[in-house]
Structures are given as C-alpha cells and as structure tokens.
Subunit: 821 residues, 2 copies
C-alpha cells in the first residue's frame, strides 16, 4: 500500500473554508474520519481501518455497522456487517461495493459525442440491443435446458442404481450408495462455491435485485460465477437437497446478460471491441433485467410470468420499452426450450423426458366453484402467510447464526455444513419411507392418471413408487421423499388421485421438508427457493384438501387443486409477489379457470405475511449487506433535512487543478465524485467522477500552465476512452499503480472538460424524504446539496454530496439517535 504522506495528511492542510484551492485537505483522514463514508460508498479498506478516537461520535464504526436491520421490525439479530461491503455468503469476507452510474454525465465530451452521433451509429445501437436480447434468449434457453438435462440424467441414474441395489443387496448398501452419491454431489457443488466463486452461492436473486437497484458488487456477474452457478446448480439439485433451480437460473440469465453487455470478459480475452455504444450502466441494467426475465422463463417455461417477475420482484426501475424487449427475450427462450424438448423426444437425451421442466398439468379439472370455496382459500392463505413468514425469519436466524459462527472462524466449515445437510437430507429421505407402511395399489378406475400411473413402479418419475414394498403395494412416503423435487411436486399436484397419500404421510413430509428447507437455503451451494416453497405449500394444501373433501362432499375441488393453492399460499407468504406468482402458477398448470382462486390465496397470504416480516429476498438483500434503496423513503426521513444527512463540506477540486493535488486527493480519499468549483470556489461548476479523472491521469493529458485549457488545446480523447468497464471491474486500485514524474506532478489538469455541469441538486432545507424520492426515482449516484442562500463571501457553494450510503436508515439512525423511537 503506497498511500503517500500519511502523516502529513492528518490535520495539516487546514486552511480557509471551501472556496479556495486546494480544499481537499478538509477530508484528511485523522481530522475527520467520517468523511470517508460521505460519498463513494465503496471505501478503500485500508483507509477505513485507520484507527481513530471518534468512538463517541454518532458516526463511528459500530454505528456504521448497524445499518439495515433497524428499518422494520425484522426478526433478525443485530449482526456485524457494514453497509459499504457485501457478503457473497453471510458471514464471509466482505467485498467492496460500488454504485452504478445511471445519470447522464453531461460534460463537454458527452455533448460532443451526442451531437456527432450519426444515424448509422444509432441504427447500429438499436440493432445491437435487439441482437443482444435475442442472443440472451437463446443462451438462457440453452443453459436452462442443459441444467435440466444434467439434473434429470444424474438424478435418474442415481435413483435407478439405488433401486437396483435395494432389490439386490438390501438396505445398508443401497442407503450408502444413495447418501454417498448425494454427499459427493453436494461436496463438489460447495467446493466450487466456497473456493472458486462465493458469489454463486444461494439463489442469486438478492444479487440481481441489488444490481438492478444500482449496487455493483464484484464478481456477482463474472464468467467464473456463471460457470460455478451452472455446475453447482446441476450438482445441488440432483444431489437431492430441498432446493430448486429457478433462482439460480435467474442469476444465470442475469450473468449471461451482463457478460454479453460488457462485450465478453476481458480476463478471458472475450471482449468485443466494437461494442462501444453499449458501455454504460443504463444499457446494461436493461439487459440484466431482460436476463432475469429470461431466467424465470427458462425455469418455468413461463414467458409472461418471467416478464412480470422481473417487473414486480427484481427491478427497481422500469421503462416502457423494456417490457417489450423483455417479452421478446422470453419468447425466444420459449422457442429454444420447446425446440430442445422436441429434439429430446426421440430419446436422445438420456433420462430426460417430457417432465424435466416442471409443468404440472391440472387441466380438465372441475372448474365450477362458487363463494363457498372462499373458505378453504382463506384458510390456505392464512396458513401460507404464517408458515411463509415463519420460514423467512427462521431461515434468516439460521443463516446469521451459522454464517457468523462458521465463516468467521473456519471458512471451509461451509463445505462441511453443506455436506452434513446433504447427508441429513439423504438419511431422512431414505429412512422415513423405509419405515413407512406399504399401501395397496388403488384400482385403476379412480381417475385419469397422469404419466407413470401404473402401480407400483420402480425407478423414477412415477405416481406410485414401489420402493421396498411387495408387488401390488406402494409406498406413499417414497413418492415424496425418494424422488426428484420436480417429481414429488408433480405427485402432489396430480389430479384424480384422491387418497394417494395418507394424512400422516403428508404431515411427516411437511415437517421434514419445511425443516430441511429452512436449514438449506443459505448454505454454500446454488439453491433456489421456489421449489422448496412449492413443495411445502403443496403438501399442506393437499392435506387441507383431504380434510375438506369429506366436508364439501361431491362438490369439493380436487386434491391436486388444493395442492396448487397451497403452493401459491406458501410462495405468497414467503416471497410476497402477487401478479407474477399468479401468472407463473397459471403458466405452470395451464388452467386459467384457477385464476380467481389463486389470486385470492395470494392476496390473503401476502397480507398475513406482510404483517410479520419482510419478503425473503429482501431479508437476504439486507443480510448480504447490500445498500438497497427501497421504493419509498422511511417515514422518519420526513423529520430530517438533506443538510442533516450530509457531513460537512465535501472534498472539492478547482476547475483547473494541479496534478499533484488531484493525485493526492485520489490516493487519500475513496470518494467517487468530486464537486468542481470555478472562480476560486465562487460557484459550482459541476461534478467530476473519479474514474474520469483516472483516464486523464493515465493518458497523461496534462496542461503545462494554469491558464491553458483543453478547449484550446484539444483533448484527443473519445467517449470510448471513458467507457465504463463491466460490472465488478473497478479502476480504483489503479491510482496506487500510477507513477508520475515530479515534472508531471507540477502540471495541471483541466477538469471542466469532464465535469458533469448539470448534476442534480437539492436545496439543503429539502426534507430527506423528498430528496430520497428524487435520488431513488432517477437512480442517482451522487446528489449535490446546495445552500439555501448562495453567498460567495460566506462559504462553499455546495453543502455536501448525498450518496446511496447517506440514505441508509441504519446510518441515519446512528447519526440521529433520537429518531429511533
């Protein structure tokens, strides 16, 4: 680390108030340690750890570390993490976070670029946009298909081998085979996650949400993460854990989008140099949004549901044309998936048949229902709300506890934890059906049976598993436990199979799958939450259906429909989505007549769940420490003004600044935006970004004298030089690698050329709630706070800069403790 003149930085340069150059000394570290949190929400780790005696300050470290959990009465404990860092796995080492630039940086260069853009280039840009979403759809569809094929083949081989062993060698060897293969699969998956790409753990939806909210964390969309996610997802799902592949597919779609959008990966020499018009965060955000929609579409074969999922759950900003492009992407995904599946019908895909992508057909079911059916709907909705929110809080507690204990002391314990959970799952799912009583097969006239309705069957994808039962009998617990999650769901949803399960079996399965789901989500493997939620929900839904059956008599709905409603209720109670879940479930089950019932179940379960805690993905966004901006300001922000949220005068530059000063400021602070003042600090010229200054420094665009400027000299830089690198690729570290001669350090930089001359400003007396609205709606990175009475003689023309960090409730509470009550 080569921070220069560390001693000198501390409290020496104290001069006049802002208005004279160089003013950056006000941010000297020892003098005012808080300034480091002021703008630029990533902070140089070293700079932050410089000890200071400000422990009594309301902004000290412990204050900073208690940011997000106070916002609502979540059930989470007060853990130790910083708003400025995020954790790929809870409890793991934190990584720096950066905000994305969505604002139009209106500087001279940009204006020239705007004016000079030819019609040809605009066409090229539009063409590129549509090509990208087309490619994105194709790739996501193929990857989704590949994951399904991998899972079905591995799981199929595993189940077949185990069944064979059971028939030939008995209990112990078959159990060992089953548990062993599961453990090995999870071991691979967790090793990949822990040692290669920690960002690939979990569902990835919190990461995508955070990115689309404007938070860029390193590696969340890197090619490494993509590969680990895909491989890990195959291993985890086929390893028999109670996890799904839907969340991971959303992450995969977003990864693909991000990699496409940044023109490949520099590290692996996959960059396309001609993508210069795509080098900004806005276009990438749009692409990632389409990617998340494509992921859902590939996971559920639900194109409309995918678009709505992206709209309702994932994105923070939505533009009209995006609906249109996301729709196109999911349409492409659908065609790819359909075509691949048609190709598989010939038997060329191993064990992968029709069923791989979950589609639960509940068509042809009685669809007449009246107001009477509102009663079970309310019951199911309430159960779903209670169990779903309980799931959220139990899971959060578990994640925080183990994350804190394991990752702090012994990181590779994560691997052990995953393997232990795999063994536990395997044990439960093997032993429980083993000790269950065999049931006689139903007569074949009960109803229209789905595929695999012969009884009993051995192998996989069947409604009536034989397991170890004698011929003519089946094991209803094996139907659920000794199956892939998709097949278990299909069994629960199956229509016309009244009486297939015993109530006790369903209760046992509910308890164990709920317990396993709670402890599984959050361990170091790629794991989705949709499937666990659907499994638990469908189980108690079917249970309620079995209880309702005798009451409602002939008129009652099918147990499969109850299972569907139960699944909806758990999803609603845990994830708190409405329209998108509704559409996804309809697209899964292909029966629009269920719409009103599903709508009401979701309404009830979301309402019940909301009264307890936050949605599960929001909780995980918090746990991972992403500085997420909610859609609305917290009520307490009404009592603060913008001025009360900023911390003293910012580090400013003069319009033409000495290279030495610039370099030292960049070295000693970690801010990403600097106000530029003109005429000796008399008025605000605008805001310049650290990354843009870095380009000037690296290209050695210096002026020999103070009175020169690029306007006369010509800068000979194009907008391509200032193109933003892709997600997670920061330039910050480079300031330490920059070596400048003494002569060069005495030269000048004309910052006006790069200064965004029209940053968004708010007056210092504006309430923080109103400022938040502006900041959030426009997706800003820096917002300038200007004084109410501009007086050049009295002080700085800028009061401070608000960043994402300054709106974090935890931070504000630590600054203004009286607001806590």
């Amino acid at each position: 680390m080569n921070i220069v003149e560390e001693g000198r930085v501390g409290g020496i340069w104290e001069e006049e108030a802002c208005g004279q150059a160089p003013v950056w000394a006000h941010s000297s570290i020892n003098h005012d340690p808080q300034l480091h949190h002021q703008h630029g929400n990533e902070a140089d780790a070293e700079a932050l750890t410089i000890p200071n005696d400000a422990s009594s300050s309301p902004r000290d470290k412990s204050g900073l570390r208690r940011p997000l959990l106070q916002r609502k009465n979540t059930l989470l404990p007060d853990s130790s993490y910083s708003v400025e860092k995020h954790q790929a796995m809870v409890g793991a080492n934190v990584s720096p976070i950066e905000s994305l630039d969505y604002e139009l940086i209106e500087n001279e260069l940009f204006r020239q670029d705007w004016r000079s853009r030819t019609k040809h280039e605009i066409l090229q840009y539009v063409f590129l946009k549509w090509t990208f979403v087309f490619l994105l759809g194709v790739l996501t569809g193929l990857v989704g298909f590949g994951i399904n094929m991998g899972v079905e083949n591995i799981a199929g081989a595993k189940f077949l081998a185990t069944t064979k062993f059971m028939a030939t060698r008995g209990f112990i060897p078959s159990f060992l085979l089953y548990a062993g293969s599961n453990a090995v699969l999870i071991l691979i998956s967790s090793l990949l996650c822990v040692y290669i790409s920690p960002a690939a753990a979990g569902s990835g939806i919190p990461e995508v949400k955070a990115y689309l909210n404007g938070v860029d964390a390193p590696n969340i969309f890197s090619p490494k993460t993509l590969i680990v996610k895909v491989l890990g997802c195959i291993c985890t799902v086929s390893g028999g854990l109670i996890v799904g592949k839907e969340g991971p597919l959303v992450h995969v779609g977003s990864c693909l989008a991000s990699i496409l959008g940044q023109g490949g990966s520099k590290k692996y020499h996959l960059t396309w140099k001609w993508l210069r018009h795509f080098k900004n965060d806005r276009d990438r955000r749009d692409l990632v949004t389409c990617g998340s929609a494509a992921g859902v579409a590939a996971a559920f074969r639900a194109p409309v549901g995918g678009v709505l999922f992206a709209l309702e759950e994932v994105t923070s900003w939505w533009r009209g044309p995006l609906l249109w492009r996301a729709f196109f992407t999911t349409a492409v995904v659908l065609v790819v998936v359909r075509t691949s599946m048609a190709w598989c019908k010939g038997g060329t895909c191993g064990y992968f048949g029709e069923g791989g992508l979950i589609i639960f057909d509940v068509e042809g079911v009685k669809s007449e229902y009246g107001l009477l059916e509102l009663f079970p709907v309310i019951v199911l909705g309430t159960i779903g709300g209670v169990l779903g929110s309980l799931f959220n809080s139990l899971n959060a507690k578990f994640v925080v506890f183990f994350g804190g204990v394991l990752n702090k002391r012994w990181p590779s314990a994560k691997v052990l934890q995953a393997v232990l959970i795999a063994l536990l799952t395997a044990t439960i799912s093997f032993l429980v059906p083993w000790y269950a009583e065999c049931r006689p097969c139903p007569e074949q006239k009960v109803g229209v049976f789905p595929v695999g309705a012969e009884c009993p069957t051995h192998g996989r994808a069947a409604n009536f598993k034989g397991f170890h039962c004698p011929p003519g009998t089946y094991n209803d617990l094996a139907n659920l436990f000794f199956n892939t999650n998709d097949d278990a769901t299909r069994n629960l949803f199956s229509i016309g199979t009244r009486g297939e399960f015993r109530k006790s079996s369903l209760l046992i399965y509910l308890a164990s799958s709920y317990f396993l789901a709670v402890i599984t989500y959050g361990i170091a493997v790629p794991s989705g939450l949709f499937v666990p939620a659907i499994l638990c929900g469908a189980t108690y839904g079917r249970l309620v259906g079995m209880i309702m059956g005798p009451i409602a008599g002939e008129n009652s709905l099918d147990e499969g429909v109850y299972a569907l409603l139960g699944a909806a209720s758990f999803l609603g109670g845990s994830m708190r989505m409405t329209v998108s879940l509704c559409i996804i479930l309809l697209e899964l089950t292909n029966n629009l007549r269920m719409l009103p019932l599903i709508m009401f179940v979701l309404l009830v379960s979301k309402t019940v769940g909301d009264s307890f805690n936050d949605a599960v993905f929001d909780i995980h966004v918090m746990l991972k420490g992403f500085p997420f901006l909610d859609a609305h300001p917290e009520p307490f922000m009404r009592h603060l003004t913008a001025k009360e949220a900023v911390s003293g005068p910012p580090v400013t530059f003069n319009a033409v600044e000495k290279v030495r000063t610039v370099v030292e400021v960049l070295r000693t602070t970690s801010h990403n935006g600097f106000p530029v003042l003109e005429e000796n600090g008399a008025y605000l010229c605008g805001l310049v970004l650290r990354s843009h200054i870095m380009v000037l420094l690296e290209k050695r665009k210096f002026l020999p004298r103070l009175d020169d400027s690029y306007y006369e000299e010509g800068i000979h830089l194009s907008s391509a030089d200032f193109a933003k690198p892709g997600s997670g690729k920061r330039m910050k570290s480079k300031i330490e690698n920059l070596v400048l001669s003494q002569e060069e350090q005495e030269m000048y930089l004309d910052l006006r050329y790069l200064t965004n001359t029209s940053p968004y400003t708010v007056v210092e007396t504006m309430s923080l709630a109103k400022a938040f609205t502006l900041f959030r709606q426009l997706g800003l990175r820096h917002m300038c706070v200007i004084p109410r009475k501009p007086r050049p003689t009295e002080g700085c023309p800028i009061v401070g800069i608000l960043t994402r960090h300054d709106f974090m409730p935890g931070y504000l509470h630590s600054m203004h403790p009286h607001l806590r009550g």
Copy 2:
C-alpha cells in the same frame, strides 16, 4: 370579465430587473404576450385572445397551435388546436387544461401536518385506501354487468322483432324496423354526448391516459360524464355500430374511481367531509389507475389483463404497491361479475345469458405446433401491422377532417353524423346478407359445436343464422352482419366449424367492418376500439386460416385459432400493446397453449405498426390536444438547454407581499406557480401555488404590517383548508369574484408560510433532455431553473419556471425553428 386596469397593465410598470418588489409587472400582457404560456398550462381564455403584434415572434399564436404533430412523422394533418386546451370531441370547443400536483408541497403548514399526523389517522388512511378500491371493484363490476345486461336485452329484443317481421311482413318493414331502431338508439346516445357531456364521447382511454400523465381537463371524470357514458354505451353497442364497450368501461372505472376519490360530487351534495387525507392528486392518481384496471377486468373478465393494461398502456407512473392494489380491485371485479352471472343463470336477466361478457372458449383445440407455424404467424403479424397502422392513420384523418368541418360550423352536425353512420351500418348489415346466397347446413359431425350449433337458427346468439334462408340452409354473412358484435366474434372464433364461412363472405365482411370501424371511432358516441379491432382481425385471420388449411393439410391449426391470431395481430398493429394484450386474449380464450403463437403475432404486428405511425390512443391523445409527456425526451431536446426553453424572468413575489400586488398579479396573469424571493430578491425562498394564495385571500389572513408574520401571529388554518378539490374543479375563476376593501388591499400577505421551500431545481445549462427526465420521472408541475452563477448583484436568483407546456415539441420547435430539420 373584470380584469382591472387593463390599460395600465400594458408596459407601464417597467422597473428594475427581478429582485425588487413588485416585479410582477414584467408579465404585463401587451409587453410580453408570451409569458402567458410560460407556467400554468391552463390560461385564461380572455387573456390569451388579447391581440398582439408579435406575429413575427417564434412563439406567436400559430406557433403555439402547432404543437404535437411534429413529434414523429404521423400521418395527421396540421390541425388547429392549442396545447393549452383540449377538445372532448375533435373540432369542438376547447376547454382549459390544468396540471396535477404530484409533488410534495413542503411548506410550513405541510410540515406541521406531517409531524402531527397520529397513528390513528394513518390507519384511517390505509383503511380508506383499501375500502375505496374494494368499493371501486364492486361498483365497476356492477356497472359492467349492467351495461352488458342492457346491451344484450335491447339488442336481443331488436333482433327478435326484426326476425319476426322478416318472417311475417317481408323485406321493407323489417329493414325499416331494424334501421329505425338502430338510428333511434344512436340518436339518443349522440344527443346525450353532444348536449350533456361531450367528454363522454369516444373510448375515454385517451382521457384516462392524459389524466394519469398529469393533465386535468374539466369534466372528464364528472358524474354527468359517467352517466352519459354508461347510457350512451348501452345505446351505441345495442344500436349495432361497429364499436365495443371495453374502452368506455375503462373510462367508467376511472370515473368511478375519481368520484370516489374526491369524496363524491359537491354539485350533487354527495361529498364526504371526512375524506381529508385523500384530498391530493397522488392518491387520486392511484385510485384512477385501479379504476382503469377494473374497467378492463369487467369488460373482458380478465383480471390480470386489466392490471397489465393499466400498467402498460394507461399509466405514466407506476409504484410497486399499486400493482398489488390494482390486483385486488380486479379480483373483486371478477367475483362481482361471476356472482352476477351466476344469479342470471336462473333466467332472471331477460335475454342476458352466458355470453354477454365475451369469453371465447378455444379450449380443447389441437395445441401441438412447431416451427412451421411461425410462417402464418409472420404473415398474420404483417397483415395486422399494416392494416392496424393504416387504420390509425385513416381514422385520424377522418376524425380531423370531420371534426374540423362539422364542429366549427354546426356543432349539432355531430348528431346527424352519428345517425347517418348508424343508418349506413344498418343498411350494410341488413342488405349485404339479404343478397347473399344461402348455404346448406353442414352435417352435424363436423366437430364439437359451441352453443347455438343447431342449423339454421332464428333469433340471436347462434352459429348458423337462418336469416331469410329456407330451412336446411343458413346465411353465412348474416352470421357476421346480423348479430351483435360479441356474437359475430364468437362465430369467427368458433372451433371445429371449418367451412362455415365462404372466403368471399369473409372478404366482404372484412372490407365493410374495416370501413365502418374507420368512420365510426371518433363520432359523438361512446365507442370502444377493442371490438372493431378484434372483428377485423378475426375475419382476416380466419381467411388466412382457410387459405392455409389445404396447404398445411391435416396438421393445420383450426380456423378458430387463426381467427384468434388475426385478432391479436390487428390489436397489436393498432394499439401496440404487448404483454397486456397477450394476457387479455389468453384470459378471453382460456388456452395457455396459444401463448407462444400470440406472443409472436404481437411482436411482429407491433414492430410493423411502429414503423408506420403511433399507437391509436397516442394519436387520439394528440388530436384532443392533451399536453402529454412521453416517457422519453425527444432527441432534439439534447441540443437545447433548460434556459432556452424558459422565457425570461418569471413573475415573482416577495416573501411578504402587499395584498393589492398579489391580487393584481393573480388577476392579470394565469400562472399557477409563483417563485417567492426573500431579502429583496436576493435568493429564492421557494414556490407558491395560486390555489394556496387564493385560500389566504379568501380567508382574509392578512397582516396589518410588513414586519409581521404568521409564524408569530398563528395562521389558524389546517391542511384541510388547502385540500385540493377534485378533478376539473378549478378555483381560478374565483379571483374575479373576490371583493376586497381598500383597507384590506393595503395589508400584507406572508407567503413564506405557504411556500414550498424545496422546489425541484435545475441549473440553466442542463440540457433540456435531462431536465425533461427529471420533470417526467417525478411528475412535476413546476420546475425552477436557477442560474449557473448565483450573484445577488447581477440578477434574479431564478431564471424561469419550466412547466409541462415548455416541453411540448411543437412549442419548442416554434421557438427554435432551426431544430426542425
């Protein structure tokens, strides 16, 4: 009209530059006529018509009148209307328009109110919100049901009587009965529209769009409009015109929402006084959004489609929680509609049976299709795009031509026009089948026939109309022409009825329904566009299906499916929606397997259509003269700065201003927002609204001396006094009714108490495109432009105010003619 001192106002008060009180004289009418368009986009009609010699000015009247059509290459002619006024019917008298206040007006009063709000009041507010959407759902459902019942009963009686006459009295009497009853129905409808509520004409979707964009036009949501819309809609649809009831239902839903939201109607003594927390434009906007969703849900029985329609087509701003509330509203609508229909099954509703609400069941159809079906999909999409966009431009031309000719000279000609079109429609729909050849009935084994499949039938709601044909034969043209639009659609969509229509019949029907649809939409009756689009689209869709049938052979899709795809293509080509249309069509036809095909048809037709012109509702928004803010700035706005869009220094007030000055400014200008300066114009205190000043004046809250202030005196006004009245209820006229004594006029007003001290500001050098983004995203009414270099000695602390009007491309083009190229 009592504008005081008209002569004196002209160019006398010329004093110092902004900074000294009173500065309002700068806006004197003759001196600078342009200022009237500067902020406040309604303008006093009288004040605007004062003649001026500024015809050479780029901002002269003709410039102002050419605003919106230049934005894209629409096919519309350059008509004569103003951006400040709107026309309920194109060509009719214009009415003043006002912007809505979505910004938080942060003044002292508001802050006190915010702080003092108790938990009880917040709960009351939340309860109210949900009660309102519940009531809205119930009412919209009931009204939708009532409209359907009315239409089905009137049309049913009409068709039965005509058929009876045909059998007993022959051609002439039955034709006279048919045409006469249609003409009378349309006469009633158009008389209501022209003489009682012109705002009820047309579909109402442009009005709802404009309102949700922040434009408040008088009477668009008044109770009078609601009643006329409902009655007119029943008459129009049962009168046999090629119109639908879907658009009107959207308007009805929004009307109901608006009336609920403003707590009933003051005029009819239906106000609820306790709704004080709901008296703001934000809450009303949310409610109207839910209302539009409810309208679609009631029209199509498509709850999810309704929510998406509101999201995609109608709203300009969307908030997450709204999705959730709109979803609840449509769920309630669905329950109400289902319950009403169940109640009707007993035969208690006259001729109203199952079919009233269009649901075209295409279930049970072959759903296997591969890549081969992409070919007809592309063909249909292209046809839909071409015919749809052609429809938009022909209809716009027709509306502008007749609107201009008829309404200018002879307003009641609108009634005649409507009746003539009704007679023309009746003649075509009676004569064409009369001269058609009768066809033999098909054998009953062709397929699974829908309801009314016996052949031939007489009366209504049937697949094989007998009309005048002998027994054993049917008239395929009568199936289409001599039917309600819903039944014609049902015939076109019907499955398994291959060969029901001749190609020539379909061609004849396509041509006449297309022609009639073009001339019908825009006349002075409530008329929706969905049904005409579905009819035309389904006709050519079925035609394509008949042509494709022999080519594809056994594998071809059913003709009914082709009709569905054709309907989708025309809707996409004309209205340019994607996801919402897709979902609406799916909910109508209850077959999710059609999803991919419908998606692709919509993609193709929208793309084709977009390359020709704007969506039909956007065109009508323009034609009606609403100053609609698009989601994105026009490209030319990049070349302008914010300063170039404002016009000179604004009319400002001092913080404590003499009553006489305030009154005179209010009388002589039409602005709605005034900057308030403090310390002799040294700095900007904020922005005060005309409506708030009016409250002070009316309540006589005057200060005897200049040095007093309300802060010491106490103002004794609550936020309820400043509550915004409902849509279309302006307070502006009241300034002319205000009578103040000489003594009172010499007193003072302390405006600081009411001044929004944190208006959103932009720096004058910001590009207009960026300023537009801010303005549009936050839904502002006034945006202050501040100078780059604030210098108290040099000039005004505010450069000007930007309003909605200043962003209108037509206006900007007239100011900066060089940008036109």
